[in-house]
Each structure stands twice: as structure tokens, then as C-alpha cells.
């Protein structure tokens, strides 16, 4: 079984203001996009990032072949317990996920 990162073109994550994280999965083409849309369940994403499923927003952007996930940060950006202010390394977790 390969990883999601091997399957798609690019996965990036970033803070969207101090209170949110957003993750973009660039699928590259329509076939991969459809496949990822069908198989990548919200429950998987929420357990990977240890957030509740109700907090997770999902956007399927067909014209760009992108699936986007956004959720509120558990720790606000720059808080003393924050480990990654820009949340950019979170993408690696999704990238290494078995798919």
C-alpha cells in the first residue's frame, strides 16, 4: 500500500490566521482527485489530527483538483505550548498516511 503523498501531486498545510489550520491536497488530475475524494474520509482526517469531526471543514474544489481541510487549532498560534507556529509540518502527517 502506498502513501497519500505518493499518490497526489502536493500536500501543504498552513495557519489561516492565528486560530485555524488549513490543509490543501493537490491531486494533480481528475482521476486521482475522484479517487481521493471517495476514499479520504473525514473521520480519518479528524483522528489523524486528534480533532472532533464536527470541527473539520471539507471543501472539494473540482476545477483545481484540490481537496481542502480546515480546522480550529487546539493551541493558538504562538501560545507557549505551540510547537509549530505556521502548522506547515502537519502536512507531513497526511502525506505519510497509508492510502
Amino acid at each position: 500500500m502506498s502513501t497519500l503523498g505518493e499518490k497526489v501531486k502536493k500536500i501543504r498545510s498552513k495557519n489561516a490566521g492565528p486560530f485555524w489550520i488549513t490543509i490543501d491536497v493537490f491531486c494533480g488530475d481528475k482521476k486521482v482527485y475522484k479517487d481521493v475524494c471517495n476514499k479520504l474520509k473525514n473521520s480519518k482526517i479528524s483522528s489523524l489530527f486528534m480533532i472532533s469531526e464536527q470541527d473539520l471543514k471539507r471543501f472539494e474544489i473540482e476545477n483545481l483538483n484540490v481537496i481542502k481541510f480546515s480546522f480550529p487549532r487546539k493551541i493558538i498560534q504562538g501560545d507557549i505550548f505551540d510547537r509549530d507556529m505556521h502548522g506547515a509540518q502537519l502536512a507531513v502527517l497526511l502525506s505519510e498516511m497509508k492510502f
Binding site: F19, L48, I76
Partner: protein, 451 residues
């Protein structure tokens, strides 16, 4: 209407731009030059301390190029969110730099300054009157929290920038503004399509990030009644319908909706298409005015005084048992601190992060490796200024603490002298709220000066 051209030199002043591209932009006769000067993107320190993230010399060098370009084009030059956080102090700091440069360049200028700081008494009064609403998720707000904040700013929108433009100023130094307002203000004023004015502003707010070559910085956006056209000014950069559309995803929790003072923009039904190799045309965004005019608030307060220590471990037994080691050490230190300094563990935070194991992802980390060495970053944060004293107490134990009592005292590696680094005051974001205004200028002031 005559199309309005806005030249955006880069995503933020201080990050650099291609001078040749800037000059090319000036030759294309812009109606205004707009650049962002800040963001909350680097965390709460800038707003908390009221200081700039970028060095003054970097800002001055780039501002000089823009002041020269402005004189050539003979159009207004606008900077939003001066000095990263956009406090009044940072607007004055930017004015100071502008005055120095005006003397060097022998320029005579009219400057409009837009102040966005909020008085605590005004915020408290607005809070009492239910004029402050929380966004999701919002930190708890009350009068004590308001009192604790070191700086509170309101984000200006297009209306406040338009007031500044109407003064006839050559240079507009704005405090905290939305990234987009400095770009959308003029096209909106001149009758361009409202949805597209905001959409084009959003696309261009990071400069050439919407193109194939982000570091070149400079883009021109032309706004008209039906939509906008975006073009990078460097000969080595190209906009494609994909690079432009993809920018709506960047740093946005929602890829279709963008809230601004006075309403929101919706790009769900936008069309992006290439006019030629370089230019992209976009139409179809809508603007939805809200019933009440609201501006976003940002505030930061002191979360404590912080001192850090770093110790490096290469001994295999300790590397393998690093979590056990820091757990034991943490318990031991809390007892020692209580015994020797009479300070309860509730008065400070003591945290160990394992560099090489999971220092970035913490509990989310799934992978287990076998590192040859581990760094232990020890962070001490206290409400009062005792973190240095605590670090000094911790220092010898970090160097010598044994895993068991049956072994000789180990000695690990300290890479620095002094071992501790005082990080001083650290801050936290304390607001994710909006403020309702009767008039857009209610929370803002404009001051004019001539030099």
C-alpha cells in the same frame, strides 16, 4: 469607467522585490502603488510588543525604492499594517523612516497617517453594549483580559483607506488594515465591480505568489466594471489560470468566502482564464454587504516571561530512555524548586521537548525512529520574572541528572555559555472578535502632515 491599475510591489515590505519588475510596473502607468507592511503570521510577539518583525534597515532600503517609484509615477503610495502589527507606534516609526528618506531624496510630501489603536475604555464600553462579537474559536473576553492586553488594534477596510486617499496625500501610512483593503480601496471608489475589486485584491495581496515566480514580487491588477486582470511585472514570471485560482486557497480557511469590513466576498462562481501567456482575466465574484458594519479586532497580552535551556544527549542508554529521563527529572525539579525557592509548580510552566523524537508534532507523531542523539529543549515560563532564577536552579541537573541511583553521575553536552537563554516577555493572541461600528471612522483617526 476608466480601468484602475493597482501596482503591488510584493506581498510585504521587507521581503524584497525585483527592481526591474518594479520599474516595468511604473512604465505601465499605475493609478496607485499598494503594499502590505504586516500580518499576524509570525505570531503574537509583534503585536504584543508593538515592534516590527523586519529590520528597520531592510524596511528603509525597500521603502526608498518605492518612494522613488512613487515620485516617478506621481500617484499615491499606500502601506497597510505598518511595522508588522500596525499599532500607532509603528505608524509613527514608518513616518520617521519616510521623513529621513524624504530628506535624502529631497522630496516634499503630504502624508496621511491612519491610526488603528483601540483604547481599553472604548473596548470595554463596546463590550458592555454588546458591540463586540466573538468569532469561532475565540479566547474568553472580559474586562480583566482587556486590561491585560498590551495592544489592541482594529483592522481598517476600504472605507478608511478611501478617506486617506481623499485627503490627496502622496503617501498613506496605515496602521492595521486587512491585507486586501489597501488594494481594493481605489477601484471600489472609482466604480469597479465590488466583488472583483476584493477578489483581485485577495489574489494580489501576496504579490507574485499568484504567479509562477513568487520571489519576483511585483504584480499589476487592472480593475473594471466586469472583473479584473492580473499580470506579473517580471519578464520571468507568468500568471496562469491555475496559479491565480490556487491563490484563493492559500492561508484561507474557506476557499470561497472572504470576510471584510462591511460584508463578504464570494468567489464560488468565478471564472479564471488566460488572456495571453502572462495575463489572467477573472470575473464572477460577488460582494454581499452586511447589515452592520463590523471590523475585526486583534489583541495580545503577556503570557509570561520565558527562559530556555538546551541540552544534548548522545549516550545510547539515555537516548533510548529519554522520555523516562525527562519525566523523572521534571518531578525531581518541581520538588527541588519548591524546597529551595518555595515556589509552587502552579506558578510556572516547565516543559521538555525532545528534539529528534517528536518535538514538532508532539502527541500527533506516529513515527518512531532510532536517533543517534537527542536534544532536550527545556522551556520555563512564569507569570512573574522568575524564569531566569528557575533556569539557573535547573542548569546543573540538566547537565548531570542520572537515570538511576546506581550509576556514576553522567555529564551531557551544553552547546552554549551561558546555558540559559532569556526570551524575555512572551505574548499570546487574546482576541478573535469583531467590533460593530455606527460609522466606519468611529474606531480610526487620520492625521495629516507635510514634509
Amino acid at each position: 469607467m476608466i480601468p484602475i491599475k493597482v501596482l503591488v510591489p510584493s506581498g510585504v515590505l521587507g521581503l524584497g522585490f525585483d527592481l526591474e519588475a518594479l520599474n516595468h510596473g511604473i512604465k505601465n502607468n499605475p493609478d496607485i502603488i499598494s503594499i502590505d507592511g504586516g500580518s499576524t503570521d509570525s505570531g503574537p510577539f509583534s503585536l504584543g510588543s508593538g515592534t516590527s518583525k523586519y529590520s528597520r534597515s531592510a524596511i528603509k532600503a525597500e521603502w526608498k525604492s518605492l518612494m522613488i517609484a512613487r515620485e516617478k509615477a506621481n500617484v499615491p503610495l499606500v502601506i497597510g499594517s505598518c511595522g508588522t502589527c500596525g499599532t500607532n507606534g509603528m505608524v509613527d516609526w514608518m513616518e520617521n523612516i519616510t521623513i529621513e528618506l524624504a530628506e535624502e531624496l529631497d522630496q516634499h510630501l503630504k502624508i496621511a497617517k491612519l491610526y488603528c489603536d483601540q483604547e481599553k475604555s472604548y473596548i470595554k464600553e463596546s463590550y458592555k453594549l454588546n458591540k463586540i462579537l466573538s468569532l469561532n474559536p475565540a479566547p474568553k473576553l472580559n474586562n480583566t483580559v482587556i486590561d491585560e492586553m498590551t495592544n489592541i488594534v482594529a483592522l481598517a477596510g476600504a472605507e478608511q483607506i478611501q478617506e486617506c486617499i481623499n485627503t490627496g496625500a502622496d503617501i498613506i501610512l496605515a496602521g492595521r488594515t486587512t491585507d486586501t483593503a489597501i488594494i481594493s480601496a481605489l477601484p471600489l471608489m472609482k466604480g469597479a465591480n465590488p466583488g472583483s475589486s476584493w477578489h483581485g485584491a485577495k489574489i494580489a495581496e501576496c504579490g507574485a505568489l499568484c504567479s509562477t515566480n513568487p520571489t519576483t514580487g511585483v504584480v499589476m491588477v487592472e480593475f473594471d466594471k466586469a472583473g479584473f486582470t492580473v499580470e506579473p511585472m517580471s519578464k520571468n514570471a507568468f500568471c496562469t489560470s491555475e496559479t491565480v485560482a490556487a491563490h484563493m486557497l492559500y492561508e484561507n480557511a474557506d476557499p470561497y468566502i472572504l470576510h471584510e469590513p462591511g460584508g463578504y466576498m464570494d468567489v464560488t462562481y468565478s471564472n479564471y482564464y488566460n488572456i495571453d501567456k502572462k495575463k489572467v482575466r477573472v470575473e464572477g465574484a460577488t460582494w454581499n454587504s452586511s447589515k452592520n458594519y463590523c471590523v475585526k479586532l486583534e489583541g495580545a497580552r503577556v503570557s509570561g516571561y520565558q527562559t530556555s535551556l538546551l541540552v544534548l544527549l548522545r549516550d545510547n542508554n539515555y537516548v533510548k530512555n529519554i522520555k523516562k529521563w525527562t519525566n523523572k527529572l521534571s518531578k525531581f525539579l518541581k520538588k527541588e524548586i519548591n524546597k529551595r525557592m518555595d515556589i509552587a509548580s502552579s506558578e510556572y510552566s516547565l516543559e521538555f521537548r525532545h528534539i529528534g523524537l517528536n518535538s514538532i508534532l508532539g502527541e500527533l507523531e506516529k513515527k518512531q525512529g532510532s536517533p543517534v542523539e537527542v536534544g532536550v529543549l527545556c522551556l520555563i515560563t512564569s507569570k512573574n520574572k522568575i524564569s531566569t532564577e528557575l533556569a539557573k536552579l535547573i542548569n546543573p541537573f540538566l547537565l548531570h541528572f542520572p537515570l538511576s541511583i546506581y550509576e556514576e553521575l553522567p555529564t551531557f553536552a551544553f552547546p552554549f555559555s551561558p546555558v540559559h537563554s532569556d526570551r524575555g516577555c512572551v505574548y499570546e493572541f487574546a482576541m478573535n472578535h469583531i467590533l460593530e461600528l455606527d460609522d466606519p471612522m468611529d474606531a480610526f483617526q487620520i492625521k495629516i502632515s507635510e514634509i
